[in-house]
């Protein structure tokens, strides 16, 4: 608007000398012209619709509920009609978007979109809040508040501020350079190692408690001590559990009686070598040793028929597969590359394979 006014101003200026009385008329003319121009410009972006469109600017969405003019649709070409309709709707939507508050981000004009108003279904259900841990439950019960602690603690030994926990912590128990042997302790015990072991135990207990909290949160069976019981245990699992239980006594299962129908443990019960008794049946021992000598001194080799047959069969299979593989490979090479690759492969093995490796 401001630009227009200055334009008219200069225009009248040139005319002032020539026509004095006609100046008023020309000013009025120009003002009328200016108004008409404005109206035309606005016309270019206004669209007339029966019903106003509904907008959801958060989604850049517009709903046009007007009935489509079927006569128009059939009269004109379908594409042109649709395009004109689309243009009108797009114009209205853009008009609405341009009304939004804007700001300049990195030299680019950006419009702030509101929250989307159409409700669309979620992808996954609402997340459930996690269950409180054992400590959190206890604290809530007792009314213990969380005390905010400082990040850094003064370490007297190193004379600096160190973190409360983690790498290079202040007052590290395992990094003590001098430990006094307490009066009650065994003088030959390694106190430094004792501290390290204690720390490892603490870490292990912490981890166990963390996992138990997770199990409780996910409503899984919490293991008291040892293996966690699964829902339905198979026969093998039960057998294994029973075995573990048998060996979990102070004498490592040596004096545990066997149940009436229980069979001795498979795999020798942990024993890797069996020894025959030293005293007892000497004749059996003599027999065995003579047999052994006989086998060693035999001219003819002993033949295990099953083993031999299996070996033969396996060898035959391998030969057959090798022949098949070679034949197929050769055929393929013949089709694709012809004599060249054959020659190359023939010369030395270190051709394609060595070069082809990335």
């Amino acid at each position: 608007m401001g630009v227009l006014l200055t334009h008219t101003h200069t225009h009248t200026h040139t005319h002032t000398h020539a026509r004095g009385s006609k100046m008023a008329a020309s000013v009025a003319e120009l003002l009328a012209k200016a108004e008409k121009d404005e109206a035309e410009k606005l016309k270019s972006i206004t669209v007339k619709k029966e019903l106003d469109l509904e907008f959801d600017l958060g989604n850049l969405l517009a709903y046009d509920k007007n009935a489509v003019n079927l006569r128009d649709f059939r009269a004109r070409k379908k594409e042109d009609f649709l395009r004109a309709l689309a243009r009108d709707n797009a114009q209205l939507l853009i008009n609405e978007i341009w009304k939004l508050p804007t700001e300049r981000v990195d030299g680019v004009v950006v419009a702030q979109l509101p929250e989307p108003s159409t409700r669309l279904p979620r992808e996954k259900p609402v997340p459930k809040p996690r269950l409180p841990t054992k400590w959190e439950q206890f604290a809530k019960l007792k009314g213990i508040q969380k005390k905010k602690k400082t990040n850094l603690v003064w370490d007297e030994e190193h004379k600096e501020w160190r973190r409360r926990w983690g790498y290079k912590r202040a007052n590290d128990d395992t990094k003590k350079w001098l430990i006094e042997v307490p009066a009650t302790a065994d003088p030959s015990e390694d106190q430094f190692a004792k501290h390290v072991r204690a720390k490892k135990e603490r870490v292990a207990r912490n981890e166990l408690n963390r996992l138990r909290n997770i199990a409780r949160a996910h409503k899984l069976p919490v293991p008291g001590v040892g293996l966690a019981p699964a829902a339905a245990q198979s026969r093998n699992e039960l057998a294994r559990a029973e075995q573990v239980a048998r060996v979990s006594t102070a004498s490592v299962g040596k004096f545990q009686e066997r149940l009436p129908k229980e069979k001795p443990a498979r795999g020798g019960g942990g024993k890797k070598r069996q020894f025959k008794p030293n005293v007892g049946d000497l004749s059996a021992e003599k027999q065995k040793q003579l047999e052994l000598l006989g086998v060693i001194g035999n001219k003819k080799p002993r033949l295990d028929v099953t083993k031999a047959v299996n070996k033969q069969m396996r060898q035959e299979d391998m030969e057959a597969s090798a022949k098949r593989g070679k034949g197929a490979g050769r055929k393929g090479k013949r089709k694709g590359k012809g004599a060249v690759s054959g020659g190359q492969a023939g010369k030395g093995r270190k051709t394609r394979k060595g070069l082809g490796k990335r």
């Binding site: 972006i45 850049l60 709903y63 046009d64 680019v108 409700r119 996910h218 069976p221 966690a228 699964a230």
Partner: protein
């Protein structure tokens, strides 16, 4: 990943982040679409699937697996593929394309809630013009499109309403707080007319008009479809409601202590402590300051008296 009797706990930070992106959250990720070919597909269907994949590019996966697709078993098929959907690709929208004599050029748009089918709508392609057939410069992929739905049917008919919601879900881009005004290039226009749904995709040209708001000119790019609505499988009302539940944390917070009177004046309440008027901080007039030896009524006499006595 270590196992805790069915719960997978991640060992590395990377896998932990990966699992976290797939967890149910308050504000969700953008929905990804799984585009798949059904048993028998015609050239039209293949092209159509590829075009829609191009429209939805970064947030879609296109599978060429020719799985058997039967309508009634669709729900069961999705159940069977549930592990595939949830573990392999975290998709909640799907698009199946198939072709047989009874239903030529069939597209099934669907969406899922908690990896069970929520809505499925079958659309038949009557006319299809692909991206390649229309020769002009296209929009960059990943631009957020303007969506316009025209026609009374989208308001009145229930199935069309669901279709509108599904198409919005499918084609709207990521939810952004602000949008670049010059970057509004792409518009998708859906018209429901005479039992058919016309989908057109245009490029927006912002022309100069005299005022700030530009004049729009449209240029057709992109695929254009003439759909006809075939079968639908819509979710039951209560499942639909559960899917729309807003978590409490996201509900708009009511601002307290704001009230309006009949004239529209905004009121609020301020609660003040009791003020000591003698120690009040005010502007100091140098002339009115207390000076030594000045007689102030009542106050100075009493201390003098105690001294003497």
């Amino acid at each position: 990943m270590t196992q805790l009797d069915g719960v997978v706990k991640p060992k590395t930070r990377r896998s932990k982040r990966f699992l976290q992106t797939r967890d149910p959250k308050l504000t969700e990720n953008m929905k990804t679409a799984l585009i798949m070919k059904g048993g028998n597909t015609s050239e039209t269907v293949t092209k159509a699937l590829k075009n829609i994949y191009a429209l939805k590019k970064p947030n879609a996966v296109l599978y060429k697996n020719k799985s058997i697709f039967v309508w009634l078993l669709m729900v069961i098929l999705v159940f069977y593929l549930q592990e595939f959907f949830s573990k392999k690709t975290d998709c909640s929208l799907f698009l199946f394309g198939s072709h047989n004599k009874k239903r030529p050029n069939n597209l099934v748009f669907g969406r899922m809630f908690d990896f069970h089918v929520l809505d499925m709508i079958e659309l038949g392609i009557e006319k299809f013009v692909s991206l390649n057939d229309i020769q002009c410069s296209k929009c960059a992929e990943g631009t957020k499109p303007l969506l316009v739905f025209a026609g009374e049917a989208f308001e009145t008919v229930n199935e069309y309403k669901r279709l509108q919601s599904l198409l919005t879900d499918f084609f709207r881009g990521p939810i952004v707080p602000a949008v670049r005004l010059a970057g509004l290039e792409h518009i998708l226009h859906f018209t429901a007319l005479e039992g058919k749904i016309y989908m057109r995709s245009y490029r927006v040209l912002l022309k100069k008009s005299g005022c700030r708001t530009p004049r729009i000119e449209l240029e057709e790019i992109g695929p254009s479809f003439d759909f006809v609505l075939r079968r639908t499988h819509l979710a039951s009302d209560d499942l639909y409601k559960t899917a729309h539940k807003l978590p409490k944390a996201l509900k708009p917070k009511k601002k307290k202590n704001i009230s309006h009177d009949a004239f529209g004046t905004k009121f609020g309440r301020l609660h003040m402590q009791k003020q000591n008027l003698e120690k009040l901080q005010t502007r100091k007039m140098k002339g009115l300051r207390k000076r030594k030896g000045e007689i102030i009524q009542g106050k100075e006499e009493s201390p003098k008296k105690t001294k003497v006595e």
